[in-house]
Symmetry: C2
Subunit: 360 residues, 2 copies
């Protein structure tokens, strides 16, 4: 099948989607032939796919340097970045080297950032192996590590040379992670494409059963939708912000529960229910459509209630100043199903009420 | 005086050069009004200029957050970068904040890299206070930190919003650092501008005596010459490499002696004598012109001999593979005075003989 393209001028790149792509040496060749290629992956993914990817890269003419990092969000840290840089320098990788990020969102964010700063920037290829990474984090060039004071506080916009989404890798994904990825798929339908949303309502059971045709379509349509937004606003100066639908609430849930307790997609799921509730209260979404959002998220096996944190705690974590209660705040709302809008004039008490309705 | 411009499309920026510019609030206003501005500086520069810069920035409408780092090359490290990021987050600096780099090359490289990665990139302003930084490192957008395995191995191309070179700050510069800066000024004449080189031969005593008119001209012409090269090749895929004239030898000297033992400019000075010697041996520079190079560098009070390291040690540090002896290597040579050329076909034994002639 033809790859999608993310249209970013001289930084445009293809997204290849299909089953079994990992092994297609000729797909890598144009990027890696006679170069050093550092494959950054973690200790969970390596036993599953490293050997196959290494074999394909070598077949394409690359010298492969595997670099293993820890699994989990805590790997997005200075120490891991230094470890990757050290491994590349030790292997005498020069400015024409390429980094391959083989794994989920953490590997992609960390390895992509390493590529952004190694010798002031080298090329990288995303091989996302989780649904979340395939439909979201691998597309758009956002890379980052975390800081003690906040997630993704240090990073770069660094577009990959290519994204290779092998949907067959989703067969090894734990159920919980599959569902967490579906949260972002649903998000793309909610904010951008009513038709896709209706398809999801029809095909949810097939997706959960990992039907390969359904999965490939969900990944492809999600990437298409995200690629359009990214092409219009690479550095998030405007439109791209709508991709954060549900995320302001979601980040508060992740931070409030301690990172890793709720998966990102789970927190976003409950966050989207809150954001839909807020949309209904603000008058931009019909009540029955807010109920449809909640029902679909529930059918995906995702949380439709937020954790029972104090509302002031939510607001603090969302960095909605308590003084703003009575004042105005900015949120991304649904403007009907399939369309999002950024509203800067919301009464803060609506936010408070929406959290209360969903979290308690 | 009209600022120079570095022509890089939508990343173009002005270089303001003059005495007393530090205090000109209206020059900062367009970049900093109603923003948070983190002034990154070190413990040597802060007592001299921080209060004045802070006052001018506040007058221009900024909220100023001073961030102090250690003096010296060892500050170009992960730990310092984390310290800067932490200070900005603690002060709740958002994505519209600006970093001001107030100091020499170390401050500029570190603070510029912090700006490149803080929340995926914010704006920064260079206020170089050493001659080396004013004529070289503040122009061109190269930012970096060091790694145990090599200098500037982690960094980004991140162009500043503006460069403000206040030549009056050179009055507080130690003599040795002034001379180290003159090495890069001489380099610009050697590789790009015979007329400027002849001006330097006439005006060297005035420069060493810190004549303000002579200093301003040396800074201005150096910046003009470098800006042209950077505009033609922002990411050093070709032409920009000529700015590294003398630097391959120089880096070997810095690394071989231990960083900080020789100043960068001193190592480059001896490195340029070696590169001129190599040019003469390769037949691209007349013997008497190589002697002129050496004489001018000597008159600037800079080293005209390299340290007495083993030649194999030089080659190792220059990453010229010993197996290449008898083979071919790439070097930047002078193609007559005022012109440089990249030669990929040099006999490695010429490199060996040139080092021997200058170092021992």
């Amino acid at each position: 099948m033809q790859p999608l393209s993310v249209a970013l001028g001289d930084r445009s790149y293809p997204i290849h989607i299909g089953a079994g792509l990992l092994d297609h040496a000729q797909m890598y060749a144009q990027y890696v032939a006679s170069r050093s290629v550092a494959v950054v992956t973690n200790k969970v993914v390596a036993p599953l796919y490293l050997e196959r990817v290494q074999h394909a890269l070598e077949h394409a003419g690359a010298r492969v340097v595997p670099v293993l990092i820890e699994d989990g969000e805590q790997a997005k840290a200075w120490a891991t970045l230094d470890h990757v840089v050290d491994a590349l320098l030790a292997a005498r990788c020069g400015r024409d080297s390429v980094i391959v990020a083989l794994g989920g969102g953490v590997v992609g964010d960390l390895a992509g950032f390493a590529a952004a700063v190694y010798q002031r920037g080298i090329g990288f290829i995303q091989i996302p192996t989780t649904l979340l990474a395939q439909v979201d984090s691998s597309v758009g060039g956002k890379t980052a590590i975390n800081h003690a004071r906040g997630k993704n506080m240090v990073g770069a916009f660094h577009q990959p040379l290519a994204v290779i989404a092998d949907v067959a890798t989703l067969n090894t994904l734990p159920d919980r992670e599959l569902r967490a990825g579906i949260a972002e798929v649903i998000k793309h339908g909610l904010i951008l494409d009513l038709e896709f949303l209706e398809w999801l309502e029809k095909q949810m059971e097939k997706l959960l059963a990992r039907d390969p045709v359904a999965l490939a379509h969900a990944v492809r349509r999600s990437c298409e939708l995200k690629a359009q937004v990214v092409a219009d606003d690479e550095r998030e100066t405007g439109l791209r912000a709508i991709l954060n639908f549900g995320h302001t609430f979601g980040h508060a849930i992740e931070a409030g529960m301690g990172y890793g307790e709720w998966l990102h997609g789970e927190a976003v799921a409950a966050g989207m229910v809150m954001a839909a509730e807020l949309s209904a209260r603000a008058g931009t979404l019909r009540r029955e459509d807010a109920a449809r959002v909640k029902a679909l998220i529930g059918r995906a096996g995702l949380p439709i209630r937020g954790p029972d944190l104090a509302i002031d705690k939510y607001l603090e974590l969302m960095q909605v100043d308590k003084k703003a209660v009575g004042g105005k705040v900015r949120f991304i709302l649904l403007d009907g199903l399939g369309r999002a809008t950024l509203r800067g004039d919301l009464d803060a008490h609506l936010v408070r009420e929406s959290i209360a309705a969903v979290a308690q």
